[in-house]
Amino acid sequence: MTHFNEMFESDQVRSPYAGLQAWMNGMPAALRVQKQAEAEALFRRIGITFAVYGEGGDPDRLIPFDMFPRVFTHSEWGKLERGIKQRAKALNAFLTDVYGRGEIIRAGRIPANLVYQNEAYERAVAGFVPPKGVYSHIVGIDIVRTGPTDFFVLEDNCRTPSGVSYMLESREMMMRMFPDLFRENRIAPVDGYHEALRRTLMSVAPQKCQGDPTVVILTPGHFNSAYYEHSFLADLMGVELVEGADLFVDGEYVYMRTTEGPKRVDVIYRRIDDAFLDPLCFRPDSMLGVPGLMDVYRSGGVSICSAPGAGVADDKAVYTYVPEMIRFYLGEEPILQNVPTWKCAGTDDLKYVLENLPELVVKEVHGSGGYGMLVGPKSTKDEIETFRHKILKDPSNYIAQPTLSLSTTPTFVEEGVAPRHVDLRPYCLVGERIELVPGGLTRVALREGSLVVNSSQGGGVKDTWVLAE
């Protein structure tokens, strides 16, 4: 299989990377090793060592940072930006709809059971419309590239996608270590992200909020693998980082305990799952949440971001219908394509999947983090047969996709510079407006030939550049 190399096209350097060739050639091995060590020491010192959302693995393990930036031209990004914003808008329209009248289901465009029997569908918020009609305020969309103009969406993350601190820290790191690069190239800044995030959160303050909304980040605590990111974002935005026990419900509002007494909270950017938010509404054994929070939320006393129930839009089985959502709600054609997907729940699809396992990637519908999946072309006969039995046991739990020929970018490896496969997760903010900072998290599969970019499976991160016009 041939792969699109984002820097070299038959020995010619593609224009976005022109500014990096001299830099690459002018870097002797010794300097490279020294810089790499410097970067790692910096990452360690600031403590950025967590795993990307839901990936599990050792929470204290450092995710490798690759210094070779990944670059998009202004016009490449323009197309991505339009596609991402379109998708974020459609996903939110879908959520408003399925917690309201369910028009898309009545119209027969999405099967009812896929939505209403979905584990992530929260009956408790049906009929409730969150402020500005926004359910997913931070939409992380995982995108892969297979050619000069070919981009595919792998999955959507509508709950609390993490990793944005890597986007910000990677840039910080590069600017510190290679300031010349940023003078010689016109790179769009990403440091407006935290301001945009704060603006977004404040714009969805609840109905009963008076004056400037008070925003907090609700974390499950320091043992959580993304705790670093929670405290990092709270610092940048200048808002309090709280745990469930720091908040309490009194009457119609939620308050946080402070040294100056209770302070009313208007917007909660929560980084805990729905099930743990409120023991009076969801899991009664949850110690992480705030008792009574959902009653305050549903009566307009506080906003919760993302809104409880947002997860039903990013389910892997619902994913296949996102292009349909774009057509249905926006009356537009999707700018970014989905990866063709076979649903093993259907008999024809199942037959095709079982006949073509060596060529396909098979995933669990509810899985994440690159676990529980089969990459056909990279698996042994035994592994494929074992997986065949798993699929047959519970077909509806699996979907399959063709093995995509992920693009590569130059990456620093032992021997020098070599192509490695990458993906991209931009973070789209949805409040009163839809905003997208020019950049995202580029993950790179550091093992030669590997297509799995997850940090738990040997993935690293890179700085992502968008060139100014």
Binding site: G102, V115, Y116, R123, G127, E252, L280, P291, G292, M294
Partner: protein
């Protein structure tokens, strides 16, 4: 029929608690079978929180009590005029899609003998007949025995036991109905039970029958809800439909004391 209800719940804490937050489904539903004449909810030392009607049509009301307190009383009193609609829930405003009631929960998981019991509905003439068949089957399979089960007993466990209370009957009926593709929900409320005071706080199930809508079935009393019933709220199981869900910030133990009286009065 005019029903007079007096429902007192008393929480006692062996160590004073720093605060209590509760979420109530204690207001009778709005539907053709019942009309509230007057209704009063008091929480000792309580501050009313947010209130709203949820997608299922239930009135949910939050309460909070600032500590320290050793005891909290929730007292509900009122009069409801009822009439018999043969179990059919008419004129009830709600917006949740009925398919959302096909989901099982931990308490209503289709396990043990439930699948076998569910198969009794096969070959029923129509949906309504199937619902009646299932409801009778549940009455037969589980004898009414107070104390045989607990709050956390699952439908499968109660069936295995062969004994239980109205909560278990309703859970089992929900589980076997869903297994047949019939949307089902757990309903909590009050019942005028002549000579059986312990049944006054009651629970039953509602099953969805196309053409009729939601229809109540009470396997514990082998009937459909009539003018003796007052409906409060619903959920996928007893936990979701609980009239009171609460949480106390405390380290000690809690003792719960509930008395419910339902009387029929002259109009």
């Amino acid at each position: 029929m005019l029903l007079l209800i007096d429902h007192l719940t008393r929480y006692r804490y062996d160590v004073p608690v720093r605060g209590v937050v509760q979420s109530h489904r204690l207001t009778p539903s709005l539907h053709d079978g019942q009309e509230v004449i007057d209704w009063q909810i008091e929480v000792s030392g309580g501050v009313m929180g947010g209130s709203f009607r949820d997608g299922a049509g239930d009135v949910v009301q939050g309460w909070s009590v600032k500590g320290p307190v050793r005891e909290i009383e929730v007292r509900v009193r009122g009069r409801v005029a009822t009439n018999d609609t043969a179990g059919v829930l008419r004129g009830h405003r709600e917006s949740v899609a009925v398919e959302a009631y096909l989901r099982e929960t931990q308490l209503t998981e289709l396990a043990g003998g439930l699948a076998t019991l569910a198969r009794l509905a096969e070959g029923a003439e129509n949906r309504l007949a199937a619902c009646h068949l299932l409801s009778s089957a549940v009455s037969e399979a589980v004898a009414y025995t107070p104390g045989a089960t607990q709050m956390h007993t699952t439908a499968a466990e109660a069936l295995e036991e062969g004994e239980g209370v109205c909560q278990d009957h309703a859970h089992i009926l929900c589980a076997v109905a869903r297994a047949n593709g019939v949307p089902a929900r757990y309903v909590s409320g009050y019942l005028l039970a002549e000579g059986a005071a312990h049944q006054a706080a009651h629970a039953w199930a509602e099953l969805f029958v196309p053409g009729l809508g939601w229809v109540g079935f009470d396997p514990a009393n082998e009937c459909c809800p009539d003018a003796r019933y007052v409906r409060l709220g619903s959920g996928l199981d007893a936990r979701e439909a609980a009239p009171i869900r609460g949480s106390a910030r405390s380290t000690g133990a809690e003792t719960l004391d509930v008395t419910v009286a339902v009387l029929a009065t002259q109009q």
